[in-house]
């Protein structure tokens, strides 16, 4: 029997370690029409300009108003679970903050490159993706710029449960989401302890207290490319992973960014864009802070996330998440088609009280649904105060209440802590 001729020519083949430690390497063929650049198309001068003039800040500060608001619309079950998670997670976040000051516990083997031993240990601990790059201060949050002590970054991705993730949106999937953070926080501390036994410092950047925008550094370390859903798509599990970092003074060799073909693949696939319940994902890429990307509309995403168990439909319906890049890219080379696109098993999902939505159908929400508090806490307080003033002159008592509340917010300050 004649073998079918592949529809696409292969530009290059990416070879990566197996999904778990001990599994064989995999090969990912990248079709000619998907090849672009390693990592992401960037304008370095724009990245620098925005970093200098408009430094990034944690959503937990910049968007604190809606981050407070979500707690008021959680279902009772989610609320209970989130409270429990925060209780478990807090000691891990607390411990991470101070790790940069802990002294090494051995004398270093001067001149020896530590990349391989650290990578091996991280893989043994269970991290599915491990890469090395320079800590890029252009992506550090304004409030954390001075916190980062060491220049080399170890990028760590921990895969979250496969089965639970396919039930998105659900409480079950939230167990995978937050449960993975709990495991990852502990594993990162273990890895940092290990690095200290090699004679070097190790500072843990908690997955729940980010020091900056992590994805660009993961892309620089060759661990994936930015997807149309705004998440890191790594070759084995797409965005079904939670990210943490460790910065260190251990001598390491940096990895290089890789072109997995995903930058163009997402433009052809578009399943996440088409399936997003809130219509928060945008089809066309734009240049944003010096990178070419599909820019998510936060205000259309957050109300759905908050009310429907973290949503995550964009993760669930991503073929790379569900089947892995080796199968998806091979299928694209063979057929010129996106594996799973248009099928109920990939694209279908159920929204509580709204029902099932298969390919081509989306839930409807009214305008009010998307009205949520914006900005920082104090900005939202001002916004509400302004509205009251516009409507009527306020009694002295209410003006005083405003001042007291504002003072309280300013005294508390912002925190970078929170779920990501």
């Amino acid at each position: 029997m004649l073998k079918e001729v592949p529809k696409k020519r292969v530009s290059h083949v990416v070879r990566r370690p197996g999904r778990l430690h001990g599994l064989p390497d995999v090969e990912i063929p990248v079709a000619d029409d998907l090849a672009t650049v390693p990592g992401i198309p960037k304008r370095d001068e724009d990245v620098s300009f925005y970093s200098r003039v408009y430094p990034v800040e944690s959503q937990n500060i910049e968007k604190a108003a809606d981050r407070d608001w979500v707690w008021t619309v959680y279902t009772e079950e989610v609320l209970k679970y989130r409270e429990r998670h925060d209780e478990i997670n807090q000691p891990l976040v607390d411990a991470s903050i101070l790790t940069g000051d802990i002294a090494p516990t051995a004398t270093p083997d001067v001149g020896k490159d530590m990349t391989d031993v650290i990578r091996l240990k991280a893989r043994e601990l269970g991290f599915g993706e491990v890469g090395f790059t320079k800590f890029d201060h252009k992506y550090a949050y304004a409030s954390k710029k001075r916190w980062v002590k060491y220049e080399h970054t170890i990028c760590l991705a921990l895969e979250q449960d496969y089965y639970q993730t396919q039930t998105i949106p659900s409480l079950e999937a939230e167990f995978a989401h937050f449960g993975t953070y709990e495991i990852e926080g502990a594993l990162a501390l273990d890895l940092a302890d290990y690095i200290r036994t090699l004679g070097y410092h190790a500072q843990v950047h908690s997955p729940n207290d980010n020091s900056g925008v992590y994805i660009p550094m993961f892309v620089a370390a060759g661990l994936g490319q930015l997807g149309a859903n705004g998440q890191l798509l790594s070759p084995h599990f797409g965005s079904r992973a939670r990210l943490a970092m460790i910065t260190t003074d251990a001598p390491v060799t940096y990895d290089e960014p890789i072109d997995y073909g995903l930058h163009n693949f997402c433009q052809i696939c578009q399943v996440c864009v088409n399936r997003c319940p809130g219509r928060a994902l945008v089809k066309e890429k734009v240049w944003w802070r010096g990178a070419e990307k599909n820019k998510l509309i936060y205000e259309r995403c957050r109300p759905v996330m908050a009310r429907y168990e973290g949503c995550g439909v964009c993760m669930k319906v991503c073929p790379i998440q569900k089947y892995g890049a080796p199968s998806v890219m091979q299928h694209y080379v063979d057929t010129g088609e996106v594996l799973g696109k248009g099928t109920d098993n990939l694209e279908g999902y159920e929204i509580p009280e709204k029902g099932y939505f298969g390919p081509g159908s989306l839930p409807q929400f009214n305008r009010q649904f998307f009205e949520i508090p914006h900005g920082r806490r104090e900005e939202w307080l001002f916004e509400e105060f302004k509205e009251k003033i516009e409507n009527d002159m306020l009694p002295t008592e209410e003006i005083m209440d405003f001042a007291v509340e504002l003072k309280k917010i300013l005294d508390e300050g912002g925190t970078t802590r929170g779920d990501e």
Binding site: D161, Y162, Y163, Q166, H331, E337, L339, G340, N345, G348
Partner: protein, 63 residues
């Protein structure tokens, strides 16, 4: 193409037979991949999928 009732029946059987057992995730992954290949019109023979996943797909596939 697999429709929703067929998918639900397949996964209900997968869960009742395998959830909590060691190979549940492996079979689940291969079922998902197998359904995608089936829906794409690709032969499942020689696709390297787990036999138990193939059996489930064969049992629940569209008439």
């Amino acid at each position: 193409m697999f429709n929703r009732p067929q998918i639900e029946a397949l996964f209900a059987e997968l869960k009742s037979e395998w959830q909590g057992k060691r190979d549940f995730e492996k079979i689940h992954r291969d079922v998902d991949l197998g359904i995608a290949y089936y829906d794409a019109g690709k032969s499942l023979t020689g696709a390297g999928l787990d036999d138990r996943a193939l059996a489930l797909i064969e049992k629940h596939k569209p008439e």
